[in-house]
Symmetry: C2
Subunit: 254 residues, 2 copies
């Protein structure tokens, strides 16, 4: 943006494997290749691009890693829809590397959750609500297991935001979701009181959604998150500390 206009463009020799990747990527992004369409075999790509198989393979690896292409049963290549999870896991790793603090996570989650819940209040269907309720029931079953509670909590909020029918927000939330999960475990772990309050909050959130009561939904979202913070503080953690202790391989996912 604020750069001086330079006389010559920078010379950047682009390696062949990268050109292979970009060529396929362009086809996909332009819509000429649609998700599910088969891409040729490696041998075919070798012929098409006129490069060696090693080069093709290096190029394909890039797309495969990014989720743009995907190997279904057997190992044939086909165009895939990169799911948010994949991007999210990478994004949350980046957040860990950047040493974000719990405070940042909390602030962002507060804003995103409030936005999500408002949309959910507007748009949730009966099916959405039924799903949320069965999640709550399942949570009650495992109330004594902090890890399981945290897992169901994570699922609950994902379902909730899906009910809001906004995929941009969904994608925006997911990296933080993955960071929240391990900390919820810590926050709930202390006492059974924690799990109880969590379930109550979930129940009130569903009730608010059912009544289309926006203010009630906002209120309980805030309470829920404040509880989360308190549980976290009670566990002796510092809000302004980077999140790198808790985040084990559990969040990595296959």
């Amino acid at each position: 943006m604020s750069e001086v206009a330079e006389k010559f463009a920078r010379i950047t020799p682009v390696p062949a494997y990268q050109m292979v990747a970009e060529a396929i990527e362009r086809e996909i992004l332009s819509g000429r290749l649609r998700p599910g369409d088969p891409i040729g075999t490696e041998a075919e790509l070798v012929k098409q691009f006129g490069v060696n198989r090693s080069t093709v393979r290096e190029g394909i690896r890039l797309l495969e890693h990014g989720g743009l292409v995907h190997r279904d049963s057997s190992r044939r290549l086909s165009v895939g829809l990169p799911h948010y999870d994949r991007l999210a896991s990478r994004a949350s790793r980046a957040l860990v590397l950047h040493q974000v603090t719990f405070r940042e996570l909390l602030e962002a989650t507060m804003a995103l959750s409030l936005a999500s819940i408002e949309l959910a209040v507007m748009r949730a269907t009966e099916d959405d609500i039924a799903g949320l309720e069965s999640n709550i029931a399942a949570t009650e079953q495992v109330m004594h297991n902090p890890a399981a509670v945290a897992a169901y909590d994570s699922e609950f909020h994902i379902m909730l935001e899906r009910a809001g029918r906004n995929r941009v927000l969904e994608l925006a939330r997911e990296p933080s979701n993955m960071l929240i999960y391990p900390t919820t475990q810590v926050a709930v772990g202390g006492s059974e009181q924690g799990a109880r309050r969590l379930i109550e909050a979930h129940r009130m959130l569903v009730e608010a959604v059912r009544r289309r009561d926006r203010e009630m939904a906002r209120l309980w979202t805030q309470r829920h998150l404040i509880d989360w913070r308190k549980g976290f503080e009670k566990a002796g953690m510092d809000l302004d500390q980077p999140i790198d202790t808790v985040t084990g391989d559990s969040a990595a996912g296959g």
Copy 2:
């Protein structure tokens, strides 16, 4: 979450190149390798892992693509901090592939911008404000060039959110930012009136930040986004249409 406990774990033969990538990734994520640290040459990695160079290369390509490792001048490998841009570009590509609509983008942007601006009101420094002001000055210089205005607008909002000092939010916003940019160009393009209103809104936002006036900041953020939507509608686009028309290679970036 809702799966039955199975007796045996699924058998997933992990290719060697992937193990190479994961091994290096673990070292980085665990902190034993810090950003900037050199990773060995390909030959060294070949010796360490006991696999062929082609295999090592395929593995490295993955990390390199994800930004976890990075080749500085010459082409030596070193650990890199994946910057949000890189993730964001991939995320916004995913959004396009999923055919999100302008309405989704607008809703999410509204929520995220309001959160950003509130933090910016709290935390912006004199330097931040000076930067924003010089951006506005620069925008005025190019008022007649919609593309340039859109570019400065994008920069403005990035600076604004950076002033909020919350990297989680920053990462959450960036994918949508990249989608907004091309549409701003469309929205402003119609009349010079559009650019004028945009600059006015920016000015009021900076003023609000300077006065630490949260309500004023929220108000002008909303106005700014409503203007954006109106400009967009005036250009004859449909809010509930997927965003795939405008999103050219301009957003891809090197």
